[in-house]
């Protein structure tokens, strides 16, 4: 027969765990909303920038613009930007990214890795802590980014990455992160950040052509806009991962709360059964004791 006191203690501890997980769920939900707002606010900027860029590249042929960010060469020196979170308790969120990174290293870039030409830039403590213990070379981490995810902070990191590409330190940069789909679903994404392909002129002919005055000239504008749109892409990846993290945590905390509720129900049932059995026992003892006195 289960010990009554042990059961009582167990129920109390599950109850307090449930309180914690449900509080964490609320916190994540609030943070998720805030972070989602940021993505929504980014969208008009990103769309407009893209629109202008596409419009411009339609009227320019590729050869006219020398694009330092589009330098294609056989990839020898690889940088993987691995975006995870700083804290855990968010289900498979981080381990998915880590698994994908390991897969990319072993399948796609094993040669470069064995030559020591592959480095990882970790954004997020979980990924950093994991890869620090492996022989992969690491750049200094950027975990602090998540304390304040603003465009200016992220743009600084993006600039560093872009500079290391133009200076020839790396000739290929890939981002690995969780893309936010909805609170329950994250899409693991692996995309090439650099070299960039020129904005493709999709939907050509649809947009009517406006005769713009360009200042200073089209080439200059394209040259200035490409790094801008790269920074936006980087920012979007970090933001996406940030939002997805809160979504993942909210979902996993919700599940944990559900589990705790189920556990409390089972334990309470067990406890009541044990209590009734004990009472029956005691009555039996009293009755048989009285019987013996006759």
């Amino acid at each position: 027969m289960a010990n009554l006191k042990a059961l009582r203690i167990r129920i109390a501890s599950v109850k307090s765990t449930k309180q914690i997980t449900s509080a964490m769920k609320m916190v994540s939900a609030a943070k998720l909303r805030r972070a989602q707002d940021k993505i929504v606010r980014l969208r008009p900027y990103a769309n407009k920038l893209y629109e202008i860029l596409v419009g411009l590249s339609q009227s320019l042929s590729d050869s006219e613009v020398e694009n330092i960010y589009g330098r294609e060469s056989s990839p020898d020196k690889i940088l993987l930007v691995v975006i995870t979170s700083n804290s855990g308790l968010c289900g498979a969120f981080n381990s998915n990214v880590i698994k994908e990174t390991r897969r990319v290293i072993s399948e796609k870039y094993f040669d470069q890795y064995s030559k020591g030409n592959l480095k990882i830039l970790a954004i997020g403590k979980k990924g950093y802590d994991y890869f620090r213990k492996t022989p992969v070379k690491m750049l200094p981490d950027k975990n602090r980014l998540f304390f304040d995810v603003s465009f200016n902070n992220v743009a600084k990191v993006a600039e560093e990455v872009m500079k290391s590409f133009t200076s020839g330190e790396f000739d290929r940069v890939e981002l690995i992160y969780n893309q936010f789909k909805n609170a329950a679903v994250q899409n693991l994404t692996n995309e090439v950040f650099l070299p960039v392909k020129a904005a493709s002129a999709e939907g050509k002919g649809k947009a009517y052509v406006v005769d713009y005055i360009y200042e200073p000239d089209q080439e200059h504008i394209v040259k200035e806009l490409i790094p801008k749109s790269l920074k936006i892409q980087f920012y979007k990846a970090v933001l996406d991962s940030f939002v997805a993290e809160h979504g993942a945590r909210m979902t996993s905390m919700h599940k944990a709360t559900d589990n705790a509720t189920g556990m409390i129900r089972d334990l309470t049932l067990q406890y009541n059964k044990a209590r009734q059995a004990a009472i029956t026992n005691q009555i039996l003892e009293v009755v048989s004791g009285a019987e013996a006195l006759k």
Binding site: P44, V210, Y214, P216, I221, Y235
Partner: protein, 81 residues
């Protein structure tokens, strides 16, 4: 004419104005009603708008790009102080 000032973090301003003066790459220039369509990159500097009541509104921007088309102005700024 209508203007929108957008940064990656926030929409800073949206409204009707009489004129706007922006820090273009080749020097500051002013956009009035019925300006020809233009796309220009911008330097660091002040964006000075005059609203419908004749009041001046000033934002200090750090680089960006402006598009003017059919009395609709979109100013994408990197950041606004």
């Amino acid at each position: 004419m209508r203007i929108e000032i957008i940064t990656p973090d926030i929409k800073v301003f949206e409204g009707d104005i009489k004129s706007v003066r922006v820090p273009g790459k080749k020097g500051s220039f002013q956009v009035l009603k019925d300006h020809a369509p233009i796309i220009s990159t911008l330097e660091n500097g002040p964006v000075i708008m005059v609203d419908m009541d004749g009041r001046e509104i000033v934002y200090e921007i750090n680089g960006g790009v402006i598009e003017v088309k059919a009395n609709k102005i979109i100013l994408l700024a990197d950041s606004v102080n």
